[in-house]
Amino acid sequence: MMTESDIVNGCKKGRREAQRALYDALATHLMAIAVRYMGNHEDAQDVLQDALVKAYLSFDQFTWKGEGSLQAWLHRIVVNTAVSQLRQRQHLPDVVNIDSVPEHEEQLDAGEVAHIDTDTILSMVAALPMGYRTVFNMHCIDGYSHRDIARQLGINEGTSSSQLSRARAILAHKIKEYINQHTS
């Protein structure tokens, strides 16, 4: 089995077996990131394809800094590719019924949230309206600041912040409903 270091060296030389090993090791994880951003499997697969091709072709720009650095680099490429594709769709407005957005964020019990399986959580995040979903993913899951989000999405920081509040309110409401349905 190839180590991460072997994979990096092989990919730098354009060796197909190293590229395939990287794909086998990380593609499902990267696919989950793409699904979170794109909201559906088909678009996510296109993003993953573009991101991996981009990564393989620009491997000489990557410097290995120990275990995990490769995954972090690919994570950034998938996020950037997804955000880039979403920005191309920005002229399409989010169709959000304003009445469906809760005015306040529900108070959730962390213990109860922890019992919800990962796929359900992921599908709830993926079901958020595109703009809210992007900001929520970038800020709450991938750790971007509002400043970075504003710069990457071409919006101002206030918009980023308000979209995050609405995203959290919608997600908390959905989780609350899910907990109520499954505990009653």
Binding site: R16, R20, A27, A44, A110, L122, C140, D142, Y144, R168
Partner: protein, 386 residues
């Protein structure tokens, strides 16, 4: 990018983030194949290339070994032109003989005085200059000329086979050594046909670009579509092309040589455009026809100039995952060259040939040879004459 927990999120969001970060999603099986198609082809190992090179080298060594065998000297037709009885005078005899016939082939035959009767033959050959400027006698044309050979025989007292006179026999009986120089003659093989095996490549790798227009449908704000042209700019990084071939030629009067052959050419390029990157390989088989004029000879070196015309047919195009029809049009080209040949033996020569080429027929795919009207190549090979 910072850790999500640094944003002071409520605890439930950290749990959601943690679950999302650990998640995995299934992937369609065809995804890897689609990715692979977008990647440049891995350089395949081609063992046949190495085997071909090894076979060619072996053939060259065998040819060299056969053609460099020392020529058999016909003692019966020899003529004594100098002799001596002391071994120490061998060098002076050789020098004397060389002075008499500086452009003739000299050979020393030594027959050992040891009881084992072991015979040792040592041949030293010099080639008579073709232009005859240093010859003491006029030199006939190369096809008709008979080349002289002088032989120095050192014979022991027990070996009297080649002693030309009784006085020598008495000297040999005293266990002295007799040295005699014989002039023997052999006829040089006529060189009517030549076979040349060669390889050549461009002196410089080249780059180029190509803009390709493709029709697309663009959505208008009113819900209608209009047809537009999308332009993709391809950048070509051409590798040094490979040309190999074989040519059979015949010597003609006036130092002319006419030949015909088969040529294989392979042009590979790395093509990139936006996110696309792939390899392009175009292969041609051609029939060259050449005429050369040998204008200068000096010892084993000769120089020539020539012209060549070639008709080629594209036999294969490999261009990433794109389906490309192989162009069927015959490709015409003309070439001019100047060459230098070094004769290793009577039958084997090495040549190097700078060459300028013009490919007259337009070819739809950019390759190293059609980026500029003229390309400069260097051709090298082996010439076998018989």
């Amino acid at each position: 990018m910072s850790s999500p927990s640094q944003h002071n999120n409520p605890e439930w969001i950290d749990i959601v983030a943690h679950k999302a970060q650990q998640a995995g999603q299934p992937i369609d099986e065809q995804l890897w194949q689609r990715i692979e198609q977008k990647l440049p082809a891995t350089r395949r190992r081609r063992p046949w290339l190495w085997w071909s090179a090894a076979a060619a080298t072996a053939a060259a060594i065998i040819a060299l070994a056969i053609t460099t065998r020392p020529a058999r000297i016909d003692d019966t037709s020899s003529e004594v032109i100098a002799q001596a009885t002391q071994p120490t005078t061998a060098s002076s005899i050789l020098q004397e003989a060389y002075t008499q016939s500086p452009h003739h082939t000299l050979a020393i035959h030594t027959q050992s005085p040891l009881p084992s009767q072991k015979k040792v033959k040592v041949g030293v050959e010099t080639t008579t200059p073709v232009d005859g400027t240093h010859a003491t006698t006029p030199v006939a044309p190369i096809h008709e000329r008979e080349q002289d050979r002088d032989t120095i025989n050192t014979t022991s007292s027990q070996q009297q086979n080649h002693s030309p006179s009784a006085s020598h026999k008495s000297q040999l009986a005293d266990n002295n050594t007799q040295i005699s120089i014989h002039r023997t003659q052999f006829k040089e093989n006529d060189s009517h046909f030549n076979i040349s095996l060669y390889g050549s490549g461009n002196l410089l790798a080249q780059n180029g670009t190509q803009a390709v227009q493709r029709p697309i449908l663009m959505a208008m704000g009113n819900g209608r579509f209009i047809e537009a042209q999308a332009v993709t700019h391809y950048h070509y990084n051409h590798h040094i092309p490979l040309n190999v071939g074989i040519m059979v030629s015949k010597s003609l009067p006036h130092n002319l040589t006419a030949g015909i052959g088969v040529n294989y050419a392979r042009y590979s390029s790395e093509v990139s455009a936006d996110l696309e990157r792939f390899d392009q390989t175009v292969q041609f088989i051609g029939i060259p026809v050449a005429l050369q004029w040998r204008f200068w000879n000096y010892r084993r070196l000769s120089a020539y100039v020539g012209a060549e015309a070639m008709a080629e047919r594209c036999v294969a195009v490999d261009r990433g995952d794109e389906q490309v029809d192989v162009p069927k049009r015959i490709q015409w080209s003309v070439h001019g060259m100047a060459g230098l040949q070094l004769d290793i033996t009577q039958h084997l020569g090495l040549f190097v040939e700078p060459k300028v080429s013009h490919y007259a027929t337009e070819f739809t795919l950019p390759t190293a040879r059609n980026e500029h009207p003229l390309t400069f190549n260097l051709k090298m090979g082996v010439n076998i004459s018989f």
